[in-house]
């Protein structure tokens, strides 16, 4: 398994300036081409861990290896999708999607062409010249996803991407995400606090315990994501996974 891990964390620990210990000795392998979920109650440091993997926060202890190399900051092989979308309010949707390419100095026609294609893939053709404040929450996050896809990173890090989106939109978005990822060799690390979301989307689920965050269990539900969305939601293995996760997480909820 370790040989095929594209992202590895080794003994990662993080204590914030105020003395709060967010993570302790976290060692996880994230296999190439799989969707892994970091799941746990609030305060388990799952977002902190994701941002350490992104290179946005330096760990106090341990290290993160991406493709075997120790990281010391963000890199072009990783792209981040933010919980609060983080769209530039003064830029059009197209420019937002192309922003990562713009920072890399890709010529305008090339990056606009790529951005247009990614926008079409997330179902937002026709909104190229809209501004973010004209879009709904779900549409904003589709823009965020298109922006991450535009830089063609191997690893996509998603920080509770659907948490500010209403339930119906979220379901549709989850289904679309699976379709989008099915044909790409993307490795996705996904943070969520929703058990159903984790069970529905994931190849692997990493359960974290709170304060300080440590790895509690790693589950591989093996549901198979090539099936019809509604079929997955009725699948025995999906329901069992949801139940199993809940049995473990229950002890952390007070």
């Amino acid at each position: 398994m370790a040989g095929d891990a594209i992202v590895e964390t080794r003994g990662v620990g993080k204590t914030y300036d105020g003395g709060v210990e967010a993570l302790r000795d976290v060692s996880i392998d994230f296999p190439r081409g799989q969707l892994s979920t970091l799941l746990g109650p609030s305060g388990c440091g799952k977002t902190t861990l994701l941002k350490i993997i992104a290179g946005l926060i330096p760990p106090n202890a341990g290290e993160v290896r991406v493709k075997g190399r120790k990281i010391d900051g963000p890199g072009p092989e990783r792209a981040f999708v933010f919980q609060d979308f983080a769209l530039l309010p003064w830029a059009t949707v197209l420019r937002n999607v192309a922003f990562g390419l713009e920072l890399r100095g890709v010529p305008r026609e090339v990056r606009d062409e790529t951005a247009r294609r990614r926008l079409a893939e997330v179902g937002l053709s026709g909104f190229e010249s809209s501004y973010p404040n004209q879009l709904s929450g779900g549409m904003k996050q589709r823009v965020g996803l298109a922006r991450a896809l535009a830089v063609d990173a191997d690893i996509i890090l998603m920080d509770e991407p659907f948490s500010s989106v209403d339930e119906q939109t979220r379901r549709k978005f989850q289904e679309d995400l699976l379709v989008l990822l099915r044909h790409r060799q993307k490795t996705v690390i996904f943070v969520t606090h929703s058990i159903e979301e984790a069970a529905y989307l994931s190849d692997r689920i990493v359960l974290l315990s709170p304060r300080p965050g440590t790895v509690s269990r790693v589950l591989t539900p093996d549901i198979g994501h090539d099936k019809d969305p509604d079929e997955i939601r009725r699948d025995r293995r999906y329901l069992d996974a949801v139940d199993e996760i809940w049995q473990i997480l229950k002890q952390y909820v007070t």
């Binding site: 792209a79 983080a86 530039l88 922003f99 920072l103 501004y131």
Partner: protein
Amino acid sequence: MTLFGRKIPVVFSLAIWFFAWELIGRAGWSTIVPPVSSVLEAGITVLGTDKFSAAALISLRSFAIGMALALVTGIPLGFAMARLPGVGRLLGMWVNIFVSAPISALVPILMAVIGIGETTVVVTVYLFAVFVIVLDTQVGVKHADRSLVEMARSFGARRRQIYVHVLILSALPEILAGVRLGAIRGVKGVVIGQLLVAIIGVGELFELYSQHFLMEEFWALVIVVFLFAFAVSEAIAALERRVEYYASAR
């Protein structure tokens, strides 16, 4: 503006005030208040004189130089205070003191140190304008969306790119508000500086008119200065409105 359910142009309010002024002036209650019609008449004569053009030129020049200096030092200083905690702690208190301090009280000292002349007026304009620009820039940069900065970093933005692509644009509404307030203060700076120095520019004219009791000319000059301050402020406000849509979207 609506009156009795009807829309009335704003100019109408001005007309009413001018009418009242005219009546009071005609009644001859006070020699300090001449009728508005003779003020306007005097204004037209004053505007045509070489003395006025020379005074206006000097005043505009002092204002422009002082404001330019305030912009090129104030905005970078505001950025430095917001981004470098050390600078912010070191200067924060002083900027806050000076932004609320009556700078006019310093002008006599400036006159003693720099001398009685245009430089003193330029420095006065600068001191009137710069602190509010620093403060507003600092607030704007500090409150720039942190997740936007994080987003730019995650896509590999270098330090310079973060400034150009995120921080400046994000702080633009506050920076412009600071520049507008700074410019309004700067106009006060020109007038107060020149009044105290009293031998140059518009200040000299004010001094001249009031000492010779030329009230028509005096009021005409007041109106001109008021209009100038208003025009500067409105021009910057127009710029602010253009960036408003994204300020409200933050």
